[in-house]
């Protein structure tokens, strides 16, 4: 018996414990299976020939294994009705990288100012930005889209002109929208981290005559790298996986629409072309999975440090 205490246990208690151990393991295995089977089935299917996917279940693969890469070739590089996902894959990258870098950079500057610079109204400003976290982005979509397309007019005066971007330049709209929506959580997370740095660090730097610019670059940035990575992963996954923002700010234009928009469209119009949907879904999943598994440590730390964005 592994029980460290020498007190005698009744036979009934022993049976009960063993049973709860067995039942417990069984429940855990069932949950784990339920959570992995759907993805696994999709993965297997994406490598099966079209005819097979459409007529037999993916589990027949184990008795009749037939493997092909044709689905991936079609869905990535085929005609546009087959998906042509390679192009959308690039769009996803072009959308996600800047949207991540912008948020991390701008949020770090703002969080530093809110934590370590003295100016009147600082606490109120922090509270205001904190409160913005709860505003659902649905509240902002219609007016923000109109700012992009018609500019901003206040009291009859054109404050901002319309941005009439064409082609690839239209990515800018998506970058700006994602950056704005990512900032409240970003500033909050980094502020938690930066404000916890020891005060003596800043005093020493100031005594040496360093200004805020130098302190931020040389002292703060190297120390908050883990937090920056955590935020970066969150924002990247969020942007890569987003459908709503992309649909509204890039949805109408195949030059800029990301994978999610294209896949949702294919699921709607070609819902039974499973050879394309299975392979297409995996094309969109593979990047987040790589990011997730290689940087899982930071991801978990970020989850535990803050909330989740909305």
């Amino acid at each position: 018996m592994s029980d460290p205490t020498p007190r005698p246990t009744s036979a009934a208690a022993r049976v009960r414990r063993r049973l709860s151990g067995r039942v417990g393991s069984a429940v855990a295995i069932v949950i784990a299976l339920l959570w992995t089977m759907p993805t696994f089935g999709l993965l297997i299917s994406s490598f099966r020939p079209e005819q097979q996917i459409k007529t037999t279940g993916w589990w027949t693969f184990f008795t009749d294994p037939q493997v092909t890469l044709q689905n991936y070739a079609d869905v990535l590089f085929g005609t546009s009705s087959q998906g042509q996902l390679a192009s959308y894959f690039i769009n996803s990258i072009v959308i996600s990288l800047p949207s991540t870098v912008f948020v991390v950079g701008i949020a770090a500057l703002a969080a530093y100012a809110l934590a370590w610079m003295d100016f009147p109204g600082r606490d109120w400003l922090f509270l205001g930005i904190f409160a913005l976290q709860i505003v659902p982005l649905q509240m902002a979509l219609v007016p923000l889209l109109s700012i992009f397309s018609q500019g901003l007019v206040v009291g009859g005066v054109q404050v901002l002109p319309a941005w009439e971007f064409q082609g690839a330049l239209e990515f800018t709209n998506v970058w700006v929208a994602h950056t704005i929506f990512g900032l409240p959580l970003g500033i909050f997370l980094l502020h938690n981290f930066i404000s916890a740095l020891p005060r003596s660090l800043f005093e020493a730097a100031r005594v040496d005559g360093a200004g805020h610019g130098v302190i931020f670059r040389r002292v703060v940035t190297p120390l908050i790298v883990p937090a920056l990575v955590s935020l970066g992963i969150f924002q990247f996954l969020w942007v890569w996986n987003d459908l709503l923002v992309a649909l509204i700010f890039a949805g109408g234009n195949a030059d800029v629409a990301p994978l999610t928009v294209r896949l949702a469209e294919m699921a709607g119009t070609r819902g039974n072309e499973w050879q394309r949907l299975t392979a297409g879904a995996f094309v969109s999943i593979v990047v987040p999975l790589l990011v997730f598994f290689s940087l899982q440590r930071y991801f978990v730390r970020g989850l535990l440090a803050g909330s989740v964005k909305g």
């Binding site: 709860s20 701008i106 500057l109 703002a110 100012a113 649905q138 902002a140 007016p143 704005i180 535990l304």
Partner: protein, 327 residues
């Protein structure tokens, strides 16, 4: 027309330009900020650091949110004042009442079941030999987009006529037990429940990770003491584990609830909101961006916001309590 890398070059070029421009601006800003006049230095230095964030937030979040609230009192074109018409519509239109009922179902079921699954799993795999692998399995769906998850589960729910081989796992199981294959996504109200399963599948990993950390934070003396007193697994759970993780549990529950209120992608990918499966966020998109009913779309957005507020207040209170406990 096939794929050609040449077509992609302008995009990649714009990507590089965008990133370089950003790096340039930030770099310049950091160089300049220490070299200005000494007068009112704190003020304008703070303005440099905070300026980009504050401007973007004012322009892209504060002003639009106020404008949306304002628009919710106007008609579809956004030009004629219509008072509370949109809100009356929201609570009387039969289709919208179904949307509200569905949203309620989502918010009641998804957070509770996702959290419960996460908690049970976290306890079961705690300190087992395969803990980290087991956790990754449950956690993996969190990295997958809702669109991807939607496709994965549509495949599980796929339907073939009774005489054909089933390709969907669920119908295969039903047939194996002698049942008739169902068109799962067409039959309401079951279809809404099956969509909720997808969100539970995605969110359980989040609950599991956060709760697992809370479980590990329970002082081992307490657990040992309870063991020595002869507590069995169930007693241990009820009188030690559960009370200790309760504040964390509340935070997790509310965080998932807030996410659930805004769920859009799953519904959009799996049914498009047809067959009585629509929810508020999906209906908001339809009204504002497909039917051009700006007033009704805005009213839905405002209502969504109103639903989030009480949840966030509870969450902030619990958060404070958790912090105080840890301090």
């Amino acid at each position: 027309m096939g794929f050609s890398i040449l077509d992609e070059l302008p995009k990649l070029l714009w990507l590089v330009i965008g990133l370089a421009a950003f790096a340039g601006v930030i770099g310049l800003l950091l160089l300049v900020v220490d070299r200005g006049p000494r007068a009112r230095r704190d003020w304008w230095q703070a303005a440099f650091f905070l300026g980009p964030a504050v401007l973007l937030l004012l322009l892209g979040l504060v002003y639009p949110a106020l404008r949306t609230a304002w628009l919710s009192f106007f008609d579809g074109s956004g030009e004629t004042w219509s008072g509370l018409d949109n809100y009356v519509w929201l609570f009387t239109q039969p289709e919208i009442l179904i949307v509200l009922r569905n949203t309620l179902l989502w918010v009641v079921l998804a957070p509770v079941l996702a959290t419960a699954t996460g908690l049970v799993y976290a306890i079961l795999v705690d300190r087992s030999r395969f803990e980290s692998v087991a956790k990754s399995l449950l956690f993996m769906p969190m990295a997958i987009s809702f669109v991807g998850a939607g496709i994965i589960w549509r495949f599980v729910y796929a339907y073939r006529p009774a005489e054909a081989d089933q390709i969907g796992l669920l119908n295969r199981v039903v047939v194996a037990f002698g049942g008739e294959p169902q068109q799962w996504l067409l039959n309401q109200p079951l279809n809404t429940l099956l969509l909720i399963v997808v969100l539970i599948w995605v969110q359980a990993g989040f609950a599991m990770v956060v709760l697992s950390a809370a479980i590990k934070a329970i002082p081992s003396e307490i657990v040992e003491a309870a063991r020595i007193d002869g507590a069995n697994a169930w007693q241990l759970f009820r009188s030690v584990t559960l009370p200790s993780v309760w504040p964390t549990l509340t935070v997790v529950l509310i965080t998932i609830s807030v996410q659930t209120l805004k769920v859009f992608d799953i519904v959009r990918t799996m049914t498009g909101g047809q067959f009585d499966t629509s929810v508020i966020a999906n209906e908001m998109y339809n009204q504002a961006f497909r039917y051009g009913e700006l007033g009704q779309g805005s009213a839905l957005a405002v209502f969504l916001f109103a639903l989030v507020i009480p949840l966030v207040i509870v969450q902030m209170r619990t958060n404070r309590r958790v912090r105080e406990q840890q301090a």
